[in-house]
Amino acid sequence: MIPLGLRLVVSGGREAITRLMILTIAVGLGVGLLLTAVAATNAVSTWNGRNAWFWTGSAWAPPSPATGAAPLWWHPSGDTFHSQPIDRFDVAATGASSPVPPGIPRDPAPGQYYASPALVALMRGTPANQLANRYPGHLAGVIDDAALPSPNSLVLIVGRTPAQLAQSPDSIQVTSVSTTVPGDPGNPDREVNPHGLTYMPPNAGAPASASDLILSVVALAILAPVLIFIATATRLSAARREARFAAMRLAGATRAQVSLLAATESTVAGVAGVAAGFGIFFLLRTPVAGIPFIGAPFFPSELSLSLLDVLVVAIGVPVAAAVAARLALHRVRISPLGVARRATPKPPRAWRVVPLLAGLAELGFWAVRGHPASISGQVQAFVSSFALILVGLFIAGPWLTMAAARTLARWTSRPSTLIAARRLGDDPRAAFRAVSGLVLALFITTVAVVAITTQNAKGLTQWGSAAEANVLTDQVSASEQVAQNNGPGANGGTAVPGPAAPAGPLTAQLSRIPGVYGVLVVRADPGLTIPGRFHDLGVNGITGQVSPVPAGVVSCAQLATLPALGRCPAGAMAAAVPADGFNGPLSGIDATTLTWPAANVPAARLATLGVDAIDVGTNGSTPAVEEARTLLESAPYPGRSTPSTISDIVAQDNSTDNDYQQLANVVILVSLPIAGCTLAAGIAAGLADRKRPFSLLRLTGARLATLRRVVALEGAVPLLSVAAVAIGTGFGAAALYASEAEQHPMVAPGAPYYLLTAGGIIVSLGVIAATFPLLQRITGPEAARNE
């Protein structure tokens, strides 16, 4: 029976071969995407492992065990170039047995450094006064890929003397290099090394559970449309296949034998699909590796499969195809006298809209009543609302399809609309099933993109004003308030004012950089404060407590060159400003409108005070910002953190969100065309079912354009309406989420979102239009002739 099944597969004519090919493509796409998702999950684990050594010496990583090795002085710090984070580690070996960071043969000697390939390339392509001059010594070698999370990782290991690092407050001795990424970094309660540095690397990695969850949602959003596509493809030429099986039953085949025939055919498609799927996976591997799923691209070799993964897919998919075929055959009763089909399926009931309404009502309730106070309460409230809406859309879809189709059929005078609406209304479950995968993909991506856009917009206003965005701030010392800023690349610690000199020469050098229009040195005046509530400064956002703000002193002549940071009272020579130099705590206040309190510090004394911070006003161009940053980093001040502009901080703050947005774009780009393929397969199957009435309609004078409109409407109406409902609901949910959880009006996403969505829909419509030639062919006069 199996050889007969195999012969039927290949000798069933062009229709059978076409069906086999479409099934193979559908299964191949599914397997290819499944393998890519599995490989991406594997790659995340590898990626995480490669981030682990960045956490060496951190308070959240376990302390080095006593190994007897000579300690290694370890000084991690962050750096930035054109808003790209650079992980920098200054090290000093105290003996031959000192641990060596991964990816380099030995610890660099003082005056040497190792850099990642991407950083080496960046340094070679950038003038030295904008980057390379920041790093002391010469390049000793390139850090091996095995130690880097990503091909574009910017990492630097600088050799120092033990004495140099021993004097630095942010250095620590370690006897081993960390091999795990902390589970909850940044949480003071989760510190496991009391002597560790409260330091967070710019490229911190992510807990595997979080990235696995995100990848699972992405995989589901992409795989759901593919699985529906496979299911729809199996319906192609089902009628002819079932008639053939009925003829076999008449000739004496048992039900089990017919079932085996069907399973053989599906297994062939499954095996061919698996082969195609592995091909698609290997084709996709390199481009997929370039997508920054988790903030950075993967090395293509990391997108790998274990032997178990390969075996499970290679064996599991054909077996699943065979089982599915047997189950599908159970649904139609094939007797020797033909195929007993179910009559028109029962229409879906109105209760199906209840979960959707409940989800919208719950979200509305939180909007009217206000969201829960606690973060966990908010998460619970919004997640449950979104989940209910999402599930509700799935459940209500068939009923909404039926209601819309029936209404349309009842009122339309156009025959094409009438036929299409009746078809959709006849089996709304099948009509909705073809596009249901889109609900998940478009709803999730719309909510994600809108929420991310809103959060990004809020980020800029949270950090500072637009006028301030390109002012480079170097926090030389750390006031108490600065110490609370534990952002990436920042160190906590005690306030130590910088030295008084030589601020003058540095200021002159900075002022000479093209694109720099002003320099402001914030001098330390211990004990000087700005009153609390001075333009909302010193107010604790959570407790509402008000406390004086540590202040520094600036020369009014210098402040006048940087109007973005405010102005002095008329006649004043010096003014008190936040000691941190405007790096963050102004929290969105536009300083251009502020008049700072006058400070009674004579000019002669001002020059003798230590330096708290240096602000450099730039035009925002990369050469100006990076040359100023390089000068500041090379200056003899013990910088507490990387000199940064508000733009840098916002870019880094938003980088993960932007990566997720890119991921959402991928989901849109993949799921829409697949939904188009599903619709096209469904249309092709429907055309085959109606071959005769359609061709007779054509004979009786119905224009081909009318029949084309039927096909277009049957495909385009579900696609466009489901897309509109999913996107609309997504926008609605995101708007409520933004106003409640983010406390910020919803910000509409940028043009790329609309272009991608429109592009995806156009591609889908193009796939549907690809069935038009089929329509023309199968409704030709010869199809209707009585043979």
């Binding site: 005078s413 036929i419 009746r422 005769r692 004078g701 006069p781 002739r785 009585n786």
Partner: protein, 233 residues
């Protein structure tokens, strides 16, 4: 080039038609003249070319050679769009089976030619419903094709063929899939309807009892037409 224009009494005419499907000849010099208001039965064995002749007369197929005239105009030389428009506006069709759109109700199926011609939904449905009592289909207006018997479905198809008040009704084995009782009922109704309206009928059948309903019978054999009864071909 064109020969003499047919007389005004002639509504459709085939002159010396040749048509092959690949290497297989279907018509080999077939000629047939049908007068206005006449009903002609085209008979012949399977594969003789009778359906092909009907399709040529209806402008569905274009002959390789010969001329097809309709109402004083050459039909075989006009564009496909023009022939489609003629089929839609001037001709009606009844086929053997499978002509109803399965998703539409019986009344929507009947109304379809009117809707295709641009008639508004209300008048189209009203005109369609008017056919149901006359054809013994009362109460079946909302049924789908799958919920009708073969005879009922064929009567719905007949109503659809006549609803637009065509000048010529082409019927290709209209009772071929029915038993003799249902077939007779369909033919009785068809004959009564076309006589009342003066509709010309070209009826293809291989059943002599069905052919007997026509004013005249012709026989097609090996792609040529010969007269059996009535006027000359």
């Amino acid at each position: 080039m064109t020969a003499d224009r047919p007389s005004s009494e002639t509504i459709t005419e085939a002159r010396n038609l040749y048509l092959s499907f690949g290497e297989t000849p279907a018509l080999r010099g077939a000629s047939l003249t049908v007068q206005r208001g006449e009903s002609v039965a085209v008979m012949g064995p399977s594969g003789s070319g009778k359906s092909t002749l009907l399709h040529c007369l209806a402008g569905i197929l274009v002959p390789d050679e010969g001329e097809v005239w309709y109402d004083g105009q050459r039909l075989d030389t006009v564009s496909d769009d023009r022939r489609s428009a003629l089929r839609r506006d001037r001709f009606g069709f009844v086929f053997q089976y499978g002509q109803l759109v399965p998703e539409l109700t019986a009344e929507e199926n009947v109304a379809l030619p009117l809707l295709l011609s641009g008639t508004r939904r209300g008048p189209a449905m009203e005109a369609a419903r008017a056919w149901f009592p006359a054809l013994g289909l009362d109460g079946l207006e909302r049924r789908r094709s799958g919920e009708l018997s073969g005879g009922q479905a064929q009567r719905v198809a007949l109503a659809r063929g006549l609803v637009a008040d065509p000048e010529v009704l082409f019927a290709d084995e209209p009772t071929g899939s029915l038993d003799s009782v249902a077939g007779e009922l369909v033919m009785d109704l068809l004959t009564a309807a076309v006589r009342t309206r003066g509709t010309t009928v070209v009826l293809v059948t291989h059943d002599a009892r069905v052919a007997a309903y026509a004013d005249r019978e012709v026989i097609v054999r090996d792609g040529k037409v010969s007269t059996l009864t009535g006027a000359a071909p």
